[in-house]
Symmetry: C2
Subunit: 362 residues, 2 copies
């Protein structure tokens, strides 16, 4: 069974790796693997986010992926380091009006069995001394973050080590069980996975409506650097009810994100995007100004018509879809990859993935 | 007469070009010509700045260079475009407290014969519609700016076209009328010009005290981009008594600068430097947020012990110096280059350069 995966972002690569691990012969096609949304992503892995309070099926999917993450990383690290840290996520409130957000989150996390500790202002200051004064916090000690750039590189290494291949070309159309490359060459497949983020529905040669439109939601994200990490743990800084993602890496990189902008396929980084992230970072980390400015990047998150992930078989025989993960691609990579590998080996996918079938748009 | 110029910034390159033009055989030595202070510089060419009110000799030097600029550019453009624009510099005051700065500047410019027009708020808005409301302005129609990156590239082209050469290596020491490169190779000279900015005094092999210490003054500078230029003319935006340099290029680049920081040889760009330039730009140009973030760069301005330029023969026979131009290297390149070429051809240099002899530090 020759399986071709179109799209070398975190979803396509993770799917290919898990399939290769099950003995499937895989080829990933991407002009520049790991260079788009997952290259921009901060890679935060919090247990929950706002979207999950009233989306029980999505919550179940997220918790399944969270459950899978440690073993997924452990198995991947047989090939290469994955950049995973699971030393806690701190949610810190910087004003009184943001405290109810913590209260709600604490109650919710407890109700679903996620270990969570309420921290006083003093405890927050002790854990994260670089923060401006906070009014209170939550620590979720079993959560953390992953560096998506390290993760993507590890996945490529693992795919190739298992005999799979990564073809660094663009895919233009599907034709008679082949993927036609931008060179004109054709790559034959028995099964095809489309995982090209917000470019997924642009591939030609499939019946109209077979693939839902996956729209781009732009995110600008900032990377600063210091010789020694300024923050000790992954955090979300909440002020005026809004949350800023802060992902410190052990090598001194600090990722600050992100904006949400509906601007079509525009991938430009702007003065406003850069300035607003710098300003918000400076509000919560007084010394952040001394850090080196390393990078401002824009990524396009892939959002399906109902903003929920799409994974599984389509109406077209032998054509599968894994996309639409919006802001949770890195978080949902393990559960998506394991489910897709199940489809590709004709076994039963994780039950949590069933509601996310592409067939809901047909 | 073999002349070697150590340092391929705007001062070294301009000196080499003018010398080559007079028939001198020149070699410029620089590991990366045009990559340091002049690469960062905005290239504003205003008639005057604050420093000139009480520095009559420096004023005379600046006015001499301003006088030379059009013919300097015209002659250089026989080889390549120089990126010069002389369509006016607008000084705009954004608050009442900054108006006296304009009054003083107007009176001063008139007293020295620099054409200057007082503009009302309405006239400023008409000239530069992208500006936030201003309270008043000055237009100096005979002034402008140059793109230092284009200028440096043109100078290299001109030097090579005239038979000179640019050796892309580091110079480590002076030894028996040769410059010893980092490869160990030696480049012989009859006369030597040291023009290596804040690295000038670090070259070894000269008697102690022959070269004054040239200290680095860091400047961070921002480059934004749009398809169509947002600003029509070069400007200084004055608010709360402080001036922000704005150099729009015809290709849509907008250079915003700069910070002044005494931090030794630290060339890092910081979150604070980037954030403050973005914030100040947004205060005076409301739509600036939509521009693409192109670049944040740091340059090290070379400052002599008295913060004034240094040019001419040193106490060491056949060794000349051209450095210490601080924030006016691009502005003073023509007068410096013409004076240095005069020294190198045993003719009389421009009288305005006499006070800037290196011998004042001996």
């Amino acid at each position: 069974m020759r399986t071709v995966v179109v799209g070398g972002g975190v979803i396509g690569l993770a799917t290919a790796w898990r399939a290769a691990r099950e003995g499937v012969s895989v080829t990933v096609i991407d002009p520049a693997p790991g260079s788009k949304a997952s290259h921009a992503s901060a890679g935060l892995l919090p247990a929950i986010n706002d979207q999950l309070y009233d989306q029980p099926e999505l919550l179940r999917l997220c918790l399944a992926s969270r459950e899978l993450y440690p073993s997924f990383v452990e198995e991947l690290e047989e090939f290469a380091p994955a950049g995973f840290r699971r030393d806690g996520v701190l949610d810190a409130a910087f004003d009184e009006e943001s405290l109810p957000i913590l209260d709600r989150q604490l109650a919710f996390q407890k109700s679903i069995g996620v270990r969570t500790e309420r921290l006083t202002a003093e405890e927050c200051a002790k854990l994260q001394p670089a923060f401006a004064p906070v009014v209170g916090g939550l620590l979720s000690p079993d959560d953390g973050a992953i560096d998506p750039r390290v993760l993507d590189a590890a996945l490529i290494t693992a795919i190739e080590a298992l005999g799979g291949s990564v073809v660094r070309r663009g895919a233009t159309r599907i034709e008679d069980h082949t993927v036609v490359l931008d060179t004109g060459d054709k790559v034959p497949f028995d099964r095809l996975v489309l995982a090209a983020g917000c470019w997924t529905h642009q591939i030609e040669g499939l019946p109209a409506g077979a693939i839902p439109e996956i729209r781009p939601v732009k995110g600008q994200i900032l990377r600063l650097r210091s010789d020694v990490p300024l923050l000790n743990v992954t955090a979300r800084a909440i002020s005026k009810g809004k949350s800023l993602y802060l992902a410190p890496r052990l090598d001194g990189e600090l990722v600050v994100g992100a904006t949400y902008e509906e601007r079509g396929y525009d991938e430009t980084v702007t003065a406003e995007g850069t300035g607003s992230l710098l300003r918000r970072a400076a509000e919560v980390i007084p010394e952040v100004g001394a850090l080196r400015f390393a990078e401002i990047t824009a990524g396009l998150r892939p959002a399906s018509p109902d903003d929920l992930p799409v994974m599984g078989p389509t109406t077209v025989p032998d054509v599968y879809l894994a996309s639409g993960h919006f802001r949770m691609g890195v978080q949902l990579a393990p559960v998506t990859a394991v489910a897709m590998a199940a489809y590709l080996t004709d076994t039963v996918p994780h039950a949590a993935t069933a509601p996310f079938t592409p067939l809901r748009f047909s």
